[in-house]
Every structure is written in C-alpha cells, then in structure tokens.
C-alpha cells in the first residue's frame, strides 16, 4: 500500500481515533471500538474496512466476535517515511554546517 493511501486512511478523525485506541489499548472488538463514537454500526464497519484495506489493522475471529488489532507491518511504511526524511535533513544539515562555517571564516579574513 502506498504511503498516501495509508495517510488517506489515517486522515479521517474517526479512523485516526480507532488506530490510536488500538495502539494504546491493544486488541478490541468492533463493538468496543464503536463505543466512543455516536455512529451507526455500518458506519463504523466501513471505517474498519478502510483501515483494514490500508494494511494498518487486521481482524481475526475470536469465538463469534470480530476483533481488531494493529498490523505492525502496515506502520513500517510510515516508519520508512520518517527514516528517509531524517536521513535527508541530517545529511543536508551536515552540508549546511560546512557552508556556514566557511562563510564565517571568509568574513573574518
């Protein structure tokens, strides 16, 4: 799944809250996830489906219940995004440091 699709899935406030709840509190049933929201069951199911398709969460059946949990691999994309930018900026700033140092020395000459 491409990063922008993952971001799109997370860009919705309800879905973001669902992901946060799963991150903080672990596995939950669809009913428990729906509880904080004043929303119909089909509406919550749709949100869960979008998140599942984005690869951020996964479902399994426990007794007769559907339970949802975080899919760590799905977050790998976000993690990669962050590492790439961290590398990009840190590498850039190394070069900026050299330039500022050089122009400082030139001024003092």
């Amino acid at each position: 799944m491409a990063l922008h699709q993952i971001m799109g899935a997370l860009g919705d406030p309800t879905r973001f809250a669902i992901v946060e709840a799963l991150l903080k509190e672990g596995e939950k049933s669809a009913g428990a996830l729906a509880e904080p929201f004043n929303m119909s069951k089909p509406a919550i199911s749709r949100h869960l489906k979008v998140l599942e398709q984005s690869g951020l969460i996964e479902r399994r059946t426990k007794a007769q219940f559907r339970v949802f949990s975080i899919r760590a691999a799905g977050f790998g994309e976000i993690d990669d995004w962050m590492s790439k930018y961290r590398e990009f900026w840190n590498g850039s700033f190394d070069r900026l440091e050299a330039i500022l140092k050089k122009s400082g020395e030139d001024e003092n000459e």
Binding site: L3, P13, A17, L23, K24, F75, Y85, W89, F93, L100
Partner: protein, 145 residues
C-alpha cells in the same frame, strides 16, 4: 507548540539566525546544501513570499532527477519559515503533501535551528485529535519491537 509534529530535528550552527535563515531562502546558498551527500540541485526556483511557490529538482546517481515543490506559508526572518513539501511522481503528479516548519533561535554559540515536518497537511486531520502522533509513536515503538 502543539505536540503533533511527527518529525523533529534540532541542530545548532555557529552563525547568526539571519545567516541560517538566509541559507534557506537564498537560492545560491540553498542549492549548495539541500539534500544529503551525493544529491545536487540542478534547478531551483524560489518565490520567497507568503503564498509564493517553490520548486527544486534534486539529482542523485541512484534516483536521477526528482522534483519537489511547495508553497511558502510563513516567512518571518529570522525566526520562522513555513512551507509545504511534496515530491512529484515521474508523470508529474504531486504526492502526499506535508508541511515543514523551521524555527531559528539565537543562542550564545550562534543559532539553534528546529525543523518540524508534519505528516498531515490537512489541519482538520491534525486538529481532530488531542493526544497526537508523538504518543502514538511511542506506542508504535512498543508494537514494532
């Protein structure tokens, strides 16, 4: 400062806030350092004003030419610079847009610069949650480890 900045990098430089700020807005300087080692900036156009557009072509042997562009949101020399940021695909379509905020603070040894890059360009997406990404990512680290 809100806690929803997803990527924060701090760095100190032995130069004045004005000099560090200008390194971002003067194309002759910016093209010398933007991108890590091995990346060059053959083309750079900056319209440094609020609402002004900027475009950079970055080149490296591995990735060839890649275009990144955005719009200036705030220009407060020498304390703060805000602009949007998105890489373009091969066919010219701009990808996911993020917002970059750079803060410049005068310190005894020169300037402390802080870069915040936000994952959500859309304010409604960002403001809808209070706990923010920082806490989420602390949890995520546990999940991933």
């Amino acid at each position: 400062m809100s806690n929803d900045q997803i990527l924060t990098i701090e760095r100190s430089f032995a130069a004045s806030p004005e000099a560090v700020f200008d390194a971002w807005t003067d194309p002759a300087i910016l093209s010398q350092w933007w991108g890590p080692e091995g990346v060059s900036v053959p083309d750079l156009a900056l319209d440094v004003k609020e609402g002004g557009a900027w475009t950079a072509t970055m080149y490296s042997d591995q990735m060839g030419n890649k275009i990144v562009s955005g719009e200036y949101k705030a220009i407060e020399r020498p304390i703060r610079l805000v602009f949007t940021w998105a890489w373009s695909d091969e066919d010219g379509t701009r990808g996911h847009e993020t917002e970059v905020e750079v803060l410049f603070e005068k310190i005894d040894t020169g300037t402390k610069m802080t870069l915040n890059q936000q994952l959500f360009q859309d304010r409604s997406g960002r403001d809808s949650h209070n706990s923010g990404w920082v806490s989420s990512f602390t949890c995520l680290e546990k999940v991933l480890s």
